[in-house]
């Protein structure tokens, strides 16, 4: 029965492969990210050769170089940063709630941001104030959920989850109300915001900095997260300071989500599925999972955003639609390959 044995081998390999080759994984993910970013800079109405891209980045003059430096590069980096932020936040939320179905939006962060952003749009505010308002809405939702869930000090994840889901539902109702009441001329941009749209993202550096800082902050505690994922009680008995860790996780995941939603709106799918994709291939060790998810999420959103602005050019598609169109088949393929059937 060599075939069966081989199947068994390939099933058990992820953990071992991961142990042997973290550098190989990093190399693959980094080069995929570089390729995606390069494609984002090359693709578009104005054709640019790959070699010219490097010249443009080095500061060359000319029309093509300006397009790359001032339009495509910020947008590509914003998409990359947000993909990374969402995938990292999703991975953290899944550990915090010990629920594989958790995503960055489950606790109402994106709902709060949507209420803020759409409210500002309804009032006809400038883009800057839409961003400010979205971030404020996300923070308000975070504090509200935390305050309500923390109320009696018990802070079980069921209580947190329920509170978050209810706040998210309330925000959803408020968003629907605003869409119904908004003047027709603004409804389109409001809908685009909700589906996720990187076209207006002009300042990617803060989001990239947040992503980098978050990874630096999380990595020393990644093994603690491995322990926490297996139950709060055992984690405490193993010396993990669960109370502090959970609050830090909650605040960090919320801030990452808020940053991303502020920059590109509520792009769906990345935060839920990228951690699962990575988990299916590399296993559930957070020390590998979190940085890998950040890179893979950034790559996926960069690809999706580039596709969103090129496949039907000059028509721009909402990037959230593309993330789902790319991610769903990949996810289903990996799931069907995985004999365990459990993501």
């Amino acid at each position: 029965m060599p075939a069966v044995a081989l199947r068994g081998e390939s099933r058990l390999s992820p953990a071992m492969r991961r142990r042997r080759a973290p550098l190989a994984i990093a190399a693959v993910l980094l080069s995929a990210a570089a390729m995606a970013l390069l494609w984002a800079l090359v693709a578009g109405d104005l054709p640019v050769a790959a070699t010219d891209v490097f010249a443009a980045l080095a500061g060359a003059e000319g029309m093509g170089a300006t397009v790359i430096r001032e339009l495509r590069l910020p947008r590509a980096l914003a998409a990359f940063a947000c993909g990374g932020l969402l995938a990292t936040a999703g991975a953290l939320m899944q550990v915090l709630l010990r629920n594989p179905l958790a995503d960055p939006y489950i606790l109402g962060i994106s709902g709060g941001a949507a209420v803020g952003a759409l409210g500002a749009m309804m009032l006809g505010a400038a883009l800057f104030w839409v961003d400010v308002s979205a971030f404020a809405g996300a923070l308000a939702a975070m504090l509200l959920v935390f305050g309500l869930a923390h109320g009696d000090g018990s802070w079980t994840q069921t209580r947190l989850l329920l509170t978050g889901v209810i706040v998210a539902a309330g925000c959803g109702a408020a968003v629907s109300l605003m869409l119904a009441l908004a003047p027709d001329t603004r409804v389109m941009s409001m809908l685009f915001w909700m589906m996720g749209d990187a076209s207006a993202a002009a300042r990617p550096w803060p989001a990239l900095a947040v992503l980098a800082l978050a990874l630096v902050a999380v990595m020393p505690y990644a093994r603690d997260l491995n322990v926490l994922a297996r139950g709060e009680l055992s984690a405490r008995a193993l010396g993990v300071r669960v109370g502090h860790l959970r609050i830090a996780l909650y605040v960090l995941a919320s801030l990452l989500t808020a940053t991303s939603v502020t920059l590109v709106g509520s792009v769906g799918f990345v935060g839920l599925v990228v951690p699962h994709l990575v988990r299916l291939v590399l296993g559930n060790d957070q020390r590998v999972l979190i940085p890998a998810a950040a890179l893979a999420g950034g790559t996926l959103l960069t690809l999706a955003d580039t596709a969103a602005r090129t496949v039907m050019a000059p028509q721009q598609l909402p990037v959230g639609v593309l993330t789902a169109l790319i991610g769903v088949p990949v996810f289903l393929f990996l799931l069907s390959r995985n004999p365990r059937g459990t993501p």
Binding site: A15, N99, R223, G231, L238, G239
Partner: protein
């Protein structure tokens, strides 16, 4: 900090002490004030009906819950004086439930027990893997290393939990219903395993077990704490506590004590 570290644990102190301990949950007293002391090599069993507070008491002894009254000390020092990771190297808990929300291999799961032995940036090395494999072997799960924990049977999963605790290698084992889901053979094997660990030369280990089987308690315990579910506590040496009348009152069901080949056996009437 280093001085404090070197002071842990106090060498000749009992592994576990509870002083004038009392627990209240909600409006209900689970146990009135009592004291206990567990020396190296000793096994303490907590007995009592459902909901009597055995698990709450065990968690309090594990330092995971503040006692309402009194103090718990391990190695001569109260939990507050122990850094969390140091405490995790001294005492380990087998929880009643082992949730597995995510797929993971058996080996990875057992390696989680090595957490308190690794530094902030440390990765499990070959030595940790060897310890984990030995732990799996001692619970009869050699060859299960790469199985997904989500596909294990209840008894196998329970033994993975025991192996994780063995990989943690504490001196004080706190086991909440360690025989859950285990068949007869593995029940005895698990109890024998911990008894062997307690008697190993050159070590100073002890154990506290929550059990439901009075006869296994009679066979393996040195001391017994019997909770009656109404706040009453009877604590003492095995033979002083394991009396048919006391057990009958605590469990609300009459029992008969029978001597068989020098061993006491309790049968429900």
């Amino acid at each position: 900090m280093n001085a404090a570290r070197r002071a842990l644990p106090v060498d000749d102190a009992p592994l576990l002490e509870a002083e004038r301990l009392a627990l209240e949950v909600g409006e209900r007293w689970l146990c009135c004030e009592f004291s206990l002391s567990l020396a190296a090599g000793e096994c303490l069993v907590l007995l009592g009906p459902n909901g009597a507070g055995k698990t709450t008491l065990l968690h309090t002894l594990a330092g995971l819950r503040e006692p309402t009254v009194g103090e718990v000390r391990i190695g001569g020092l109260p939990y507050a004086a122990w850094p969390a990771l140091e405490a995790a190297r001294f005492r380990g808990l087998l929880a009643q439930q082992q949730p597995d929300p995510f797929a993971a291999s058996v080996l990875e799961t057992v390696l989680v027990g090595r957490h308190p032995h690794l530094g902030r940036w440390g990765w499990e090395g070959p030595q940790d893997v060897a310890i984990a494999r030995a732990a799996l072997e001692s619970v009869g799960l050699a060859g299960f290393e790469q199985r997904d924990v989500q596909t294990l049977s209840g008894g196998e999963r329970q033994r993975v939990g025991i192996a994780t605790l063995l990989a943690q290698a504490p001196r004080l084992f706190l086991l909440d219903e360690p025989l859950n889901h285990l068949d007869l053979h593995h029940q005895i094997a698990a109890l024998e395993l911990f008894q062997r660990l307690l008697r190993e030369q050159g070590t100073a280990r002890g154990s506290v077990l929550v059990l439901h089987d009075i006869n296994l308690a009679a066979r393996y315990a040195d001391h017994i704490i019997l909770l009656d579910g109404r706040g009453g506590v009877i604590a003492g040496d095995r033979d002083a506590v394991l009396r048919a009348d006391l057990l009958g009152q605590a469990f609300g069901h009459p029992l008969r004590r029978i001597e068989h080949e020098g061993r006491a056996v309790f049968l429900p009437d």
